[in-house]
């Protein structure tokens, strides 16, 4: 279950429990009050009966009946005493004298009965009100020193005149008894309240700890900038396409650390972040994505991305950092873009900015780049979901570029080049540089390789006279899944496998030549050939010639292109490669043959095969059908 839902449920349950306890508390109070009210009503009836009795005995004019009749007074006092129970503390009858003072007429007390006509101050205005209105009243006991809960006042009326007041004092014990009727429930509610208070306290504590934890997870402890997690959460709540994005990397910060020490380096990074934040609005977000890499998102409606990028670049470039007695400065590389409408993949945005940042770095750092509209438009091709969908719908095809014999110009082979077909426009083909890096190492990559192999073998079956080469990254061959896939297809199509060439690309230096040699041997089991792509550049070096059993060398296209700018020197290099290949018995292919001039020079250098736009563009195999028939 997702954490926010879990939290909501917990808080919901606690909330319901609080409501339930409050309701219980309210219900208990209501119930107790109802019981008390019922008991008061009973007492009223009780008082009514006493009054009826007194009226019957005195004929309504109670004072005149009692004044000269002590015997009747004693008799009635005894009667009142008989009415006393443990619920009733006192029962007595008062009257108001001419001065307005209350005086006792009767007193039912067992002990210390008050004498007839003794003055009494009732300490409550309710007595006067009942006397005047002739309506029953209840006086709450104000003083707390004696055991009276409340006084029930019942007027004795005769000839529309209040003759006296019957006072029935209900004892405090009686109130306690009524209050305690619900005591088991009260205990339960109290326990629940304690439980809830403890639970709430624990929840508050947990919430606080969770808050602190989140703060530490969402904010970088060194710089105070946000973390990647914050960025992800932020775009779970906000639309990605309402922001512009900038990626900043401090160039060669390692040198700063080495020169001034790590503490000084940390201080510089902190200051750097402060400088960036000072230029950003509150709604912009600064994220530390790596040690010296920062990602910024700024609302589109705030500032034009180009202006902000330029401004940040200038400020950060000029900024000086004081470290001890030295003054340090930094150079930065930046890439920025307007996030296109409808974009939803933060990873895709970060990837493209990262690639562009690498471009800046490879061109000498200390610069910035703002992505053009085409690059932005191509963004969707980098979306893993887009690629996945294309593969599921088999929107994959191969274009074939001919490799020709230099001397005869006859096509001897085709290089199969994979393309994705655009979702909206099936005429638009997407080149691998958009999507290959995205799916590298994923199951989608295996899926795509499978489709390419199927297509290549299908072409070989369809055209028995042609040869096809396909590209393979050496890393692919280290993958057991890929090797299984390739060997399975080679075995399945073993009758045409000898017309297939694997063009091996290498992005890293080979560490284990024996292993690679073994893999090449496996590929060649069914007669397939091995070509080394981009020979003469990067990692495709002379070690290959010494350690690996290869068939073809494809000279790096960039080297061929040098024939335009440095023809003499390039020719010398190409001549040496040609001689090497000849001595080793390898076939040689020149790539990037884009015009007649280069073609003629290649021919002159006696390089056997050539490939390039001058000799044929990548096209569907059907486009070359007439050459195949020839």
């Amino acid at each position: 279950m997702k954490q926010p839902y879990f939290n909501r449920i917990i808080f919901g349950i606690i909330g319901l429990l609080i409501l339930f306890v409050l309701y219980l508390q309210y219900a208990i109070i209501e119930n107790t009050e109802k019981i008390k009210k019922d008991e008061i009503q009973k007492s009223e009836k009780y008082a009514q009966k006493i009054v009826q009795y007194l009226r019957a005995k005195t004929g309504g004019h109670i004072e005149s009946a009692l004044t000269n009749n002590p015997k009747l007074r004693d008799q009635l006092n005894d009667v009142l005493q008989a009415f006393l129970t443990e619920n009733y503390q006192y029962i007595f009858v008062l009257k108001k004298d001419a001065k307005g003072h209350y005086r006792f007429l009767l007193d039912g007390s067992k002990e210390e009965a008050v004498e007839y006509q003794t003055i009494f101050f009732p300490q409550s205005s309710v007595f006067d009100r009942v006397y005047e209105t002739q309506k029953t009243g209840i006086a709450k006991q104000q003083e707390s020193t004696q055991k009276i809960w409340l006084s029930l006042l019942y007027p004795i009326v005769e000839d529309k005149q209040t003759q006296a007041l019957l006072v029935v004092d209900l004892s405090e014990e009686y109130a306690d008894y009524l209050n305690n009727l619900n005591s088991p429930l009260k205990v339960l509610v109290s326990l629940m309240q304690i439980f809830l208070v403890i639970s709430m306290a624990l929840l508050v504590l947990m919430a606080y700890r969770y808050y602190k934890f989140r703060q530490s997870v969402l904010n970088d402890t060194l710089t105070g900038a946000h973390t990647k997690l914050y960025l992800e959460e932020f775009f779970n709540r906000n639309r990605l396409d309402e922001y512009n994005a900038i990626l900043i990397d401090i160039d060669e910060f390692k040198e700063i650390n080495e020169k001034y020490g790590y503490d000084a380096g940390d201080a510089i990074i902190k200051e750097f972040v402060q400088a960036v934040l000072a230029e950003l609005s509150l709604s912009a977000k600064l994220i530390r994505t790596a040690g010296t890499e920062f990602f910024i998102v700024v609302p589109k409606n705030e500032i034009e991305i180009g202006i902000l990028t330029q401004k940040l670049f200038e400020i950060l470039k000029e900024k000086k950092y004081l470290t001890g007695n030295d003054v340090a400065s930094l150079t930065i590389s930046m890439s920025a873009m307007v996030i296109p409408k409808g974009a939803s993949s933060l990873q895709a945005i970060q990837r493209i900015l990262d690639e562009k940042l690498l471009e800046v770095k490879s061109r000498g750092k200390n610069n910035f780049i703002i992505l053009d509209l085409q690059s932005i438009d191509d963004l969707r091709y980098r979306d893993i979901d887009y690629i996945k969908e294309a593969l599921e719908e088999k929107r994959v095809c191969c274009l074939y570029q001919p490799i020709v014999c230099t001397q005869t110009k006859q096509i001897i082979k085709y290089e199969a080049l994979v393309r994705l077909i655009d979702k909206e426009d099936d005429k638009k083909l997407i080149t691998p540089h958009h999507f290959l890096k995205v799916i590298k190492g994923t199951t989608q990559y295996i899926k795509m390789s499978k489709l390419v192999l199927e297509e290549a073998f299908s072409t070989l079956h369809a055209f028995p006279d042609i040869q096809v080469s396909i590209n393979l990254d050496l890393d692919d061959l280290y993958s057991s899944d890929m090797m299984k896939l390739i060997t399975k297809h080679l075995h399945k199509n073993r009758e045409v496998a000898n017309r297939l060439t694997f063009e091996i690309l290498e992005y890293h230096e080979i560490q284990d030549y024996d292993k690679v040699a073994l893999i090449f041997q496996q590929l060649k089991t069914y007669g397939s050939k091995i070509a080394i792509d981009d020979f003469g550049s990067g990692y495709a070096n002379y070690y290959y010639l010494i350690h690996l059993d290869i068939d073809i060398l494809k000279i790096d296209g960039n080297l061929i292109a040098q024939l335009h700018t440095s023809p003499r020197r390039t020719k010398i290099v190409l001549q040496s490669i040609q001689k090497l290949a000849k001595d080793f018995g390898y076939k040689l292919v020149a790539e990037f043959v884009c015009d007649e001039m280069i073609y003629e020079q290649i021919k002159e250098l006696d390089i056997e095969y050539a490939q390039g736009y001058y000799l044929g563009e990548p096209k569907p195999i059907e486009a070359y059908e007439k050459f195949i028939k020839l």
């Binding site: 006192y90 001065k99 003055i119 101050f121 006991q141 020193t145 004696q146 055991k147 009276i148």
Partner: protein
């Protein structure tokens, strides 16, 4: 156990102190109504009352009836004494004040009383007796002044 006993004593002491405070406050009001000013020389032979009034800064307990400004009748003995003694001036000091209706009724010299009846506090002053001592209680106490018992 000792500790609990100590806490119990402390609580009891607190309750007692509260009662003492309220009693002193009540009598402070009464003495003020009777026009007495500090230091008030009080004669009371009841140990309990004496232990209470000992804590008042405005009251000095005296052992001689005649030297007192006011006499508090709390017992039958005090009632007898109040009846018997003439005081410095029969119509002047000491003023006699009762703590029970019965004492008030039994002692003609008593100008008033404060006592509890049916759970209600009862404060009353007798007009004629006050006049005899030339005492006029402030207006706010008029409701407690009665002509006769």
């Amino acid at each position: 156990m000792k500790r609990y006993f100590f806490v119990f004593l402390l609580l009891l002491g607190q309750l007692h102190a509260l009662e003492r405070e309220s009693t002193l406050k009540m009598y402070g009001v009464i003495f003020e109504a009777l026009g007495l000013k500090a230091p008030i020389h009080l004669y009371v032979n009841d140990k309990e009352y004496r232990s209470v009034f000992r804590h008042s800064p405005d009251i000095e307990l005296v052992d001689v009836f005649e030297k007192s400004d006011i006499v508090l009748v709390t017992t039958e003995e005090a009632l007898e004494l109040a009846r018997r003694k003439k005081g410095q001036n029969p119509e002047g000091k000491p003023i006699v004040f009762a703590t029970d209706y019965h004492f008030l009724k039994s002692c003609e010299k008593a100008v008033g009383a404060f006592y509890w009846r049916k759970g209600r506090s009862q404060l009353l002053f007798l007009k004629k007796r006050l006049e005899r001592h030339h005492i006029t209680v402030p207006e706010r106490y008029d409701q407690f002044v009665i002509d006769e018992l």
